[in-house]
């Protein structure tokens, strides 16, 4: 549900970057969304359509780079893929998993005219 606010913020960031660089229109925005960021990419896409109207981003392309979750087990050191619902290490069954990757939620590129 908080995708709406985050998408508005994404648009603010892209507009600011565009203005700072003397651009009048944004063509594309690239964002990274990690599997463990607690954000539904489809919701961001939907909100983007609505929220970009009347901004420098109107009609622009949203590119979402989905980052899979990766973790490491504190007990056996094995690395594994993680989603929000992973609670145990697939190797040893241990419950202590360190999150190495997948919490990303950031704007990485703005393409302007």
């Amino acid at each position: 549900m908080h995708e709406l606010g985050l998408t508005q913020h994404l648009i603010e960031i892209a507009e600011r970057v565009a203005r700072e660089n003397g651009a009048t229109q944004v063509r594309a925005v690239k964002v990274e969304i990690g599997a463990l960021a607690g954000v539904v990419p489809e919701s961001v896409e939907f909100c983007f359509d609505v929220c970009s109207r009347g901004t420098l981003l109107e009609g622009s392309r949203l590119e979402i780079l989905f980052i899979p979750g990766r973790g490491r087990c504190y007990d056996c050191q094995a690395e594994c893929t993680l989603d929000t619902y992973t609670v145990t290490c697939p190797e040893c069954g241990g419950f202590s998993l360190e999150r190495l990757q997948g919490k990303e939620l950031r704007v990485v590129e703005v393409e302007v005219d």
Partner: protein, 249 residues
Amino acid sequence: MCTDCGCGPSGHHHHHSPAEQSPGRALRVEEDLLAKNNRFAAANRRLFREKGLLVYNLVSSPGSGKTTLLERTLTELQSELHFAVLEGDQQTSNDAERIAATGVPAVQINTGSGCHLDAHMIGHGMENFAELPLDIVMIENVGNLVCPAAFDLGEDAKIALLSVTEGEDKPLKYPDMFRAADILILTKVDLLPYLRFDIEQCKAFARQVNPRLRIFELSCQNGAGLPCWYDWLRQEIAAKRSLVRDDGR
């Protein structure tokens, strides 16, 4: 799924009209979407530290008993500790009024369509308590087991509440929240005789998701477990005070 937008997890993709063919300028950025909230949270944390405040962020689904636990706790501890409460709800000031009735200062923050409190709202909320000598600030977040997990408010800890009527598998269904919390309070244990709720199973699920969790079980109806919770609060405030003293040296 996003109820604000009404879109479902259908995996649909929106096609945005591709801009003209000539290459645009690609500007590299590296800006975290939560960075703005995190900056406000850091400012709150500085303020809390300066004032030596202990701050808890209470999160749960609607109706788990957050306001009731606050009413009970404030009524019984306000003679020894100075509290203030920030109440978050989408609408109404009902909860702030319930708290104010105990005699503890309370401010309502209405988030409107927002599904969580953010650090900026908390910063402004705290302005209302600027002149008060305080020990503990309790923040009651909007009833929601999803969104508040992602937003740091500058608090010492998130306290998740789960009532025994909600089902023991909630920690597995909403792992983000139970992972973000340091403390879990199982509420309404007076109702256990009427339910098929396996409290040990629930605790085991919660610890699977977050082995660090400290768990309390209590009832505001018959008072079971409350002394344990109060003692813990007293210990935490004592620890905070000795930390503040060390800071001052």
